[in-house]
């Protein structure tokens, strides 16, 4: 599974004015620009900030890649593609991180509703999250707290 980078990255500048309103400016930059604090991103950020009375509070670089050989999706027993498997993780700073996986396999659940942490696929996913991921503020994920199936309500007939 290899993802091919798009030819350009997106540079996004986020502004906030004295009234607290937010605005943004987006443009394309070279795919080699990946550090929002240096190079072209820093130069454009500084030049844009010099034109504005608003506060440039964040510079973002968006890098997009697509798998040219992805798919097809496997067939298998799953009740509805709109179902989600909700996972909760405890973190080092005391917050709870939620993750929802769509179209979950039936093997993810122990009784059709509760996530089965002993399932090999579930255990591998939990381990990958704890090993590789953090919260938005950078705190580590430390443990799996539990999970369950979420099913969106059907639209009521009028």
């Amino acid at each position: 599974m290899a993802f091919d980078l798009n030819p350009s990255n997106v540079l996004q500048l986020l502004f906030r004015d004295a009234n607290g309103k937010h605005a943004s400016m987006k443009m394309y930059i070279d795919s080699g620009e990946t550090d929002p604090s240096a190079g072209g991103a820093a130069a454009i950020s500084a030049a844009a900030a010099a034109l504005s009375d608003s506060a440039l509070y964040e510079t973002q670089i968006l890098i997009v890649a697509e798998d040219s050989s992805a798919g097809p999706a496997t067939s298998g027993d799953y009740d509805r593609p709109s179902d989600k498997a909700l996972f909760r993780f405890n973190t080092a700073d005391g917050t709870i991180v939620h993750q929802q996986i769509g179209a979950p396999l039936n093997t993810v659940f122990s009784n059709a509703w509760d996530v089965d942490a002993l399932d090999s696929g579930v255990a591998a996913y939990i381990a990958a999250m704890i090993t590789n991921c953090t919260t938005q503020e950078g705190a580590a994920l430390i443990a799996f707290d539990g999970g369950n199936r979420r099913r969106p309500p059907r639209r009521k007939q009028q």
């Binding site: 930059i29 604090s37 009375d53 964040e58």
Partner: protein, 154 residues
Amino acid sequence: MAALSTRVKATFKTRYGLEFSMTFYVPPGIVDPNDSRVQAVIAAINAVTNAYCFRIEITAANPHAVTPTSSPDYVNEDKAEFVFSGEGGTAHTLKVPGLKAAILTGDNETINALAGTPHAFCIAVTTYGQGAGGETLVQPALGHRRAARKTLKK
């Protein structure tokens, strides 16, 4: 300010065409979608779903500790608009919100893009910016003030 964690958004497609996305965070400095840590999480998700991941979007963010000018002449609804030219005459419009009054000429509507800080901005864009496919941008001679406000209901 310290760099924020890198946000990774993975988009999946199910067998019957429905799409869903998942967002998770990895340590700052990871900017390659093929990074082993990102791919480890994607592979683990693929193993428990009937969908497959076909797109990854990574957002690297750098926060700035700044405050806006109090009582400014213009707020975010007013923007400094610059229309750059791409190959084949395509237009690439950039708007900087909350423009400073000092960059406007005497009519309070036009901006001289060939001098001062507007020119420095245009030089930065033409040097480091490009079109979606990598095309070179050419700076304009003038910019304009654009006001984006909701019309009053009659």
